[in-house]
């Protein structure tokens, strides 16, 4: 294994910018790694070898004349297959967009390219980001590098697994109900959902418009912060984009890494423990809270009484918006068209029906039906309307909590990674994965997951979730970076180094 692939993005960028190693070499090392282990992990749906090497060569040319596009120029990245790319298919994990080559780059894609970040390929995901295990991908599941029989979380399981498998030092995810943070937690990597509206959604194939938010995935808090500053910022193409300067998250991560949290008030969300929480996950969380105290933070318990309604509200709002967002897949302009060889005899409606029947998987259909129902005349007020009220109550819970504390903490997920296939027939059990992450999607505030150790009973990673008020993303970076240093010191090195060797398996 090349040592290059084990470096943090910050360290790799440093080497590239000092011309100790070329961007092409760094890219090739990761492409080699993908070739070696992705047969077993299946983090990628598409690897853009030529495009990546060409982008890397361009960075090397620029560096040769003293131009460094960004602090991450030359560093490879794995892009979730939900972001449009003009040079690689964008499938959203669905058959309905198999081989679809978008005519435009997402704003995030553009910003990555402008920063000289090398896009290795597109990562696997639950179809249309609907799921918590990547098992809903139409192209087969991704495997968790910690235990290949287990799920890597979802929907962004491909992005997080690629980090844990050292196939990429950086990745982009999107988080609608926890799709960045939950995969981060179960793969022992860092996943950040920035404040809603701070990273453009233009070119992010929509699942639920009012909840979707793209964010950085990495193996360290600093790397995530560096990537955060590349992709964040106002975009006139996204009307919900907030026209404010990007928060100083890199500075906050560096400050946090000095190991001092004196004066920081941390709130432990009382409601996020108890039945359904794995003991090892709770133990990791309690240990993490103690470490925050040891770093000088003041820890208090905070109640958010309406969080218990979040899951129900989420499963009305997200499917409602999805039922409308996914209506455009009608076989008219792009994507799959199923006509059973009888195109001349079928009406447009019949072709559309056949295509949607064949092109969408069961979970997508389930949510379209749920959302269509929730928005129907006579049911709207009881379902969609009530869910929006719950959303307001949850936002108020956050507001009053943040009047008392600077950040909130909770476990990211109630359990560690479960086995592939274990919950596939039990949607409700599957939905519980996102219990702790959903409130921040509903309220739109910032939240991240940082690894908090391995659960004693199964040796699998657990995550510490840190939540900050909207447009105060830097607070959670500071706390997470401080915790990361203390955790590594206590556990004798980075957690990620304990991922099993994958070479033997794939050979």
């Amino acid at each position: 294994m090349s040592e290059l692939i084990r470096l943090s993005a910050a360290d790799l960028a440093d080497k590239i910018h000092k011309r100790e190693v070329s961007a092409v070499e760094a890219t090739q090392a990761h492409l080699d790694r993908i070739a070696e282990v992705d047969g077993a992990v299946h983090a990628f749906l598409h690897v853009n070898t030529e495009g990546a090497l060409a982008a890397a060569a361009k960075v090397d040319e620029q560096i040769a004349v003293g131009e460094v596009a960004s602090p991450l120029a030359g560093v490879p990245l794995a892009l979730k297959d939900v972001m449009t790319t003009i040079d690689a298919p964008t499938t959203v994990g669905s058959k309905i967009l198999e081989n679809w080559l978008p005519p435009y780059d997402a704003t995030v894609t553009e910003r990555l390219r402008a920063a000289g970040i090398v896009i290795l390929g597109k990562t696997n995901m639950d179809e249309f980001a609907m799921g918590s295990s990547t098992e809903n991908s139409a192209y087969g599941p991704t495997h968790n590098p910690w235990d290949l029989e287990r799920i890597p979380g979802g929907s962004g399981g491909g992005s997080s697994a690629s980090l844990a498998a050292f196939e990429a030092p950086l990745a982009i995810g999107t988080d609608t109900g926890g799709s960045i943070r939950q995969p981060g937690a179960v793969t022992g990597t860092v996943g950040v959902k920035p404040t809603y509206g701070t990273v453009s959604r233009y070119g992010l194939v929509a699942f639920s418009s009012s909840l979707d938010q793209a964010g950085p995935c990495a193996r360290t808090v600093l790397d995530a912060a560096l990537l955060h500053e590349v992709i964040a910022g106002y975009d006139p193409m996204d009307s919900t984009s907030i026209n404010q300067p990007v928060r100083p998250v890199v500075e906050a991560a560096r400050q946090g890494a000095t190991g001092d949290l004196k004066g920081v008030k941390v709130g432990v969300v009382r409601e996020f423990r108890g039945e359904g929480y794995q003991q090892g996950v709770i133990d990791c969380f309690d240990a993490a809270v103690q470490q925050l105290r040891d770093l000088g933070a003041e820890v208090v318990e905070v109640s958010c009484p309406h969080f218990k309604y979040a899951l129900g509200a989420y499963y009305l709002i997200a499917p409602s918006e999805a039922s409308s967002n996914l209506a455009r897949f009608d076989a008219m302009r792009y994507g799959l068209r199923v006509d059973n060889g009888a195109l001349g005899e079928l009406s447009a409606e019949q072709v559309m029906s056949l295509t949607r029947e064949a092109g969408f998987g069961p979970e997508v259909k389930r949510r379209i039906i749920l959302g269509t129902y929730a928005l129907s005349a006579g049911y709207y007020d009881a379902y969609y309307g009530s869910a929006q009220k719950v959303r307001t109550l949850i936002s108020r819970d956050f507001t009053s909590a943040f009047e008392q504390v600077d950040v909130l903490v909770a476990p990211t997920t109630p359990t560690t990674a479960f086995k592939i296939g274990e919950r596939i027939d039990d949607p409700l059990a599957m939905y519980l994965n996102d219990l702790c992450t959903i409130p921040s999607n509903l309220a739109g505030n910032a939240a991240l997951s940082v690894p908090s150790g391995l659960a004693a009973e199964d040796g699998l990673p657990a995550g510490l979730q840190v939540m900050a008020p909207a447009l105060a993303d830097e607070r959670m970076y500071r706390v997470a970076a401080a915790y990361e240093v203390a955790r590594d010191a206590a556990q004798g090195g980075p957690l990620i180094n304990r991922v099993p060797e994958l070479e033997a398996i794939s050979r």
């Binding site: 679809w100 435009y104 418009s209 009307s239 455009r328 897949f329 302009r333």
Partner: protein, 500 residues
């Protein structure tokens, strides 16, 4: 083919029923770009050339509101005496149709930008009917389907369909009236007069091309009948495809007579969409649906609410042009018109054209004469609206100037106008190409003048004694002798010259 429906005699309809009208007018705004993307907003163009990921509904694409369209919507609302919402949103209207790229229309639902207004409409006899406006809201247009093969371009029976998304995402304002009651026999006239007044108003605001023939102004006419003793409205039908002012009037009238026949025959009116057939002046039922469409409206999550500041609203209100009726009064005074003359001008839909022609330099009497008589006749012959004639006010003004400076006689001027209408180019080019020059050979004219003076010695004597006004008789004689090709002004000059 469906059988021709029974209709009732119009007078009998009114003996038994009171009509109730509701008019929904869609106006395409003339903004440079579309409602939610940067594509050009132009009529026509090669199919699918004014499109982008946003208006094609590509996965991942997002809308961004056209600020100019919001401004136009507010100006329209203010001109219609509406309240402007302090806070409003877009909503999604969900339904599947191949020419609608996202399979939802971004529209406004229960939070329109403008509401509760009215428009006072002047009827043919000069009386005023107040049309109450329920709302004016913003939305986007759909693309266009072209059904190929089968009968009459309808989707049913077509071999295949072609889709053009150039129009998809063009900004639309939908203006909805409250139910209009109390029109009685004048319901068709009120409908026509309202659409005409609205069109004038919108033209004055310069927010739309308001071309009914091109679909930039479209009217859906809702009609129902109430029995004389009834207390509730009857079931209504909505007639679409009403593409001219005349059709608005005829469609309402036809539906009234059709409804009455159905009701009196013991039948029930089906709440449905009907299509107006221009050639037969009748309506036919649209495709009937098994179940009522449930549009599953919900607030558009991709757009933030619009909250126009009160300062902005006040500024727009202050900047509104004079309403057409105030402007009419002003022009009437400026041009010295009688009430009847003004009404003729308005009824001929010529007011704006005359004003524009005057602005382009013509005298108001000349401009009025061109549009109300000669050009109106041509429009009638060509079965077009006056404004649709392929001649501009500037061109009319130029012809008028050529007459005034003696380059053309009235007769030659008409030939020049014919040339412009026939697409032969600008007036001067037509004059050149057709050789339409006034006879300016003074020797020939002088001879004709001398001849005329000799024929009427008593008149000649009057002129010689200083009564220049008497020259008119001689001018007439010369014009007659030269079959109108002489320049009357020059003839008059020559007469005075010869008599001094």
């Amino acid at each position: 083919m469906t059988a021709v429906a029974e209709v009732m005699d119009y007078d009998e309809v009114l003996e038994r029923f009171d009509p109730v009208l509701g008019l929904e007018v869609h106006v395409e705004l003339n903004t440079n770009t579309k409602m939610f993307c940067g594509c050009a907003n132009v009529f026509g163009g090669e199919p699918n050339t004014h499109v982008c990921p946003v208006c094609l509904g590509m996965p991942g694409a997002l809308p961004a509101v056209n600020g100019k369209a919001v401004e136009s919507a507010m100006r329209i609302g203010l001109a219609l005496n509406c309240e402007i919402a302090e806070w409003c949103r877009f909503a999604r209207k969900n339904y599947f149709y191949p020419d609608m790229p996202k399979n939802f229309q971004t529209s406004q639902y229960d939070e329109p930008i403008a509401f509760n207004g009215y428009l006072d409409v002047e009827l043919d006899d000069g009386s005023i009917f107040r049309v109450d406006i329920e709302r004016a809201h913003m939305e986007e247009d759909t693309g266009k389907s072209l059904h190929v093969g089968g009968a009459t371009g309808r989707i049913h029976g077509a071999d295949y369909s072609l889709l053009d998304y150039n129009r998809a995402g063009v900004p639309l304002i939908e203006i909805v009236t409250k139910p209009l009651v109390g029109t009685g026999a004048r319901a068709p006239e009120v409908a026509r007069a309202y659409v005409a007044a609205l069109r004038d108003l919108l033209r004055g605001l310069d927010v739309s091309d308001v071309r009914m023939d091109q679909g930039s102004l479209r009217c859906d006419a809702n009609v129902s009948l109430m029995a004389k003793d009834a207390t509730e409205f009857g079931t209504r039908t909505e007639t679409k495809n009403v593409n001219s002012l005349r059709s608005v009037e005829r469609a309402v009238r036809y539906e009234m007579t059709r409804h009455a026949a159905v009701l009196v025959g013991g039948g029930k009116i089906k709440q449905e969409t009907r299509h107006f057939d221009e050639s037969t002046a009748t309506t036919r039922a649209g495709r009937t649906k098994e179940t009522a469409e449930d549009y599953r409206y919900f607030p558009e999550p991709d757009l933030v609410p619009i909250a126009p500041s009160r300062e902005w609203v006040a500024e727009l209100k202050a900047g509104l042009p004079q309403p057409p009726w105030v402007r009419r009064k002003r022009l009437q005074e400026e041009w010295g018109l009688s009430d009847a003359e003004l009404r003729d001008l308005v009824n001929a839909d010529a007011l704006d054209l005359v004003a524009a022609t005057v602005d382009a330099g013509a005298k108001s009497d000349d401009a009025r004469s061109w549009w109300v008589s000669y050009l109106s006749q041509q429009a009638k012959t060509l079965n077009k609206e006056l404004a649709e004639l392929p001649i501009t006010p500037a061109q009319v003004a130029r012809v008028s100037a050529l007459v005034a400076d003696g380059s053309l006689t009235n007769k030659l001027a008409r030939a020049v106008v014919d040339g412009v209408l026939a697409g032969e180019g600008e007036p001067d080019a037509v004059v050149e190409a057709r050789g339409l020059k006034v006879v300016s050979d003074d020797s020939a004219l002088t001879a004709a003048v001398d001849e005329a003076l000799a024929a009427q010695p008593d008149v000649a004597e009057k002129i010689r004694s200083g009564k220049v006004a008497a020259a008119g008789a001689i001018v007439g004689a010369v014009m007659k002798a030269t079959k109108g090709s002489a320049d009357a002004k020059r003839v008059r000059e020559l007469i005075i010259e010869r008599c001094s």
